[in-house]
Assembly symmetry: C2
Homo-oligomer: 331 residues x 2
Amino acid sequence: MATNRRIVLASRPSGWVTAENFRLETVPLPPLADGELRVRNRWLSLDPYMRGRMNEGRSYAAAQPLDETMVGGTAGEVVESRHPKFAVGDQVVGYLGWQEYGVSDGSQLIKVDTRQIPLSAYLGAVGMPGVTAWVGLNRIIEPKAGETVVVSAASGAVGSVVGQLAKLSSCRAVGIAGGEQKCRYVVDELGFDACVDYKRGDVGQALKAAAPDGVDGYFENVGGEIMDAVLPRMNAFGRIALCGLIAGYNGEPIPIRNPTWFLVSRLKLQGFIVSEQMHLWPQALKELGGHVAAGRIRYRETIAHGLANAPAAFIGLLKGLNFGKQLVELD
Amino acid sequence: MATNRRIVLASRPSGWVTAENFRLETVPLPPLADGELRVRNRWLSLDPYMRGRMNEGRSYAAAQPLDETMVGGTAGEVVESRHPKFAVGDQVVGYLGWQEYGVSDGSQLIKVDTRQIPLSAYLGAVGMPGVTAWVGLNRIIEPKAGETVVVSAASGAVGSVVGQLAKLSSCRAVGIAGGEQKCRYVVDELGFDACVDYKRGDVGQALKAAAPDGVDGYFENVGGEIMDAVLPRMNAFGRIALCGLIAGYNGEPIPIRNPTWFLVSRLKLQGFIVSEQMHLWPQALKELGGHVAAGRIRYRETIAHGLANAPAAFIGLLKGLNFGKQLVELD
């Protein structure tokens, strides 16, 4: 236990992320100070927001610094502790980044109970992605029973929870996803009412059939042509929770071609970032934990193995190659 | 008093409205039924929303029918009444359209007091445009003291009230208007803190100087390049009240080029239509009336004379040739 392996940002991508943007390093393990503890990470969470952090310049969060450990959510086990509230063997989730061992002063680290919920789920449906779904749906879309809720990237870690929560609120849930396999999963396994395969062509027409009463709430993870196709289908007083714009993460232009819909249909569009809504996390996590433990919310994981494979897995996530929550399981 | 003159929609415009889209007709005055009253219109209100009504197809309101009297707000005097609540001589505002005489059953018609407020102001600052400003500002932007509020079409009937109400809420008020004369009026006569002349070039740069602390609330009447220039200047958690998109009224494309700002800055954009917020009108009109009577809200009118000149005045309004509220005074 004398060394730690980590992945740092070696260079900033221009356009698509490549493996060369990362570097695997072996570094000495620092000694613990009083009040600190050491975690052996078991799971790394890979999430689309990391792509934004890799850019320089103004965004809602500080840019990921060059030559430092990639940011990211983690789940693991306390292996050494000089902190009064954490003991060796505690299962914890936090933001220790792409590395095997992390040091924490206990802040932003929470102990979790893995008796009914697997540790990795605290990075997915019972973690940041789940809370993201919960906040966007319940605090921006605020669905009423009988309404129709549409979500893009529907088979992903966030989208899958959005649709299942919408169903639990007695709404019609319609997904948008890429490919027949993902669409079948969204309907057959997650219980959405319908799913539009955006790779099959005219999303607007397909949505007309999938949401025959129009769209009251839209949870947007993608943007670009997908949003253009959804806007004309929005009902009066529709609400759009803007969570991500993955279509533009590489700098592609993703204009909203016809903003007149916002006026004609009196729509609300609201961007949000879940880490700014910390006061909502306890309630959201309690509900999500209950749903997952009871089998009311299901999820799927795509698991890469070993720290060295994290960059390739992240690149795959940005290309939509994952299926459900993308994780890295550390050896 | 045996005939009425009116202007009907003769054809739907493609692109810019032309005089040929209208037709002046002389028609017989219908007799009054029990419960009806006749108004001699003194003032016609001309408003940008009418351009939308002239199109066919789905919008928030029914299209203006061909060969029928143009819709529109009016102010005038009761000249004949078989209605128990209205007497000859009453000053009233309503929606009797582009004609000299209108018949009403009393619904959507309100008696107004012209002792402290001139009749025409009930079509402007103390009427639909004023309430539009009040609702967008107070119910969507919800400005806090010390914040910066920007409004496009700032010298217009709506925009001028937005900025003055923002000042009354202890905000920094910044206008965007076309031409030096309008900008000078906005600052010198209406008391805005600054005004950006969009005809002078880079709106984004000018806005940086005019709103050095960024923009917290944006009241949008225009859209297109103006909105593109404002979005990057919005502060985190900024609110945008979407009232009009006059830049696109002739079918011009007005994309929002970089919607990433909604996410990065966690913005809220909300479209609204003031006629759907009737419950807010009494409070808004009371406040606006008080401000106008006391001289705290000022306004300017551009007055065309005679019914026959209404089409030309309306075309001028769409081109920004008016200055403040565009009215037609009937002979």
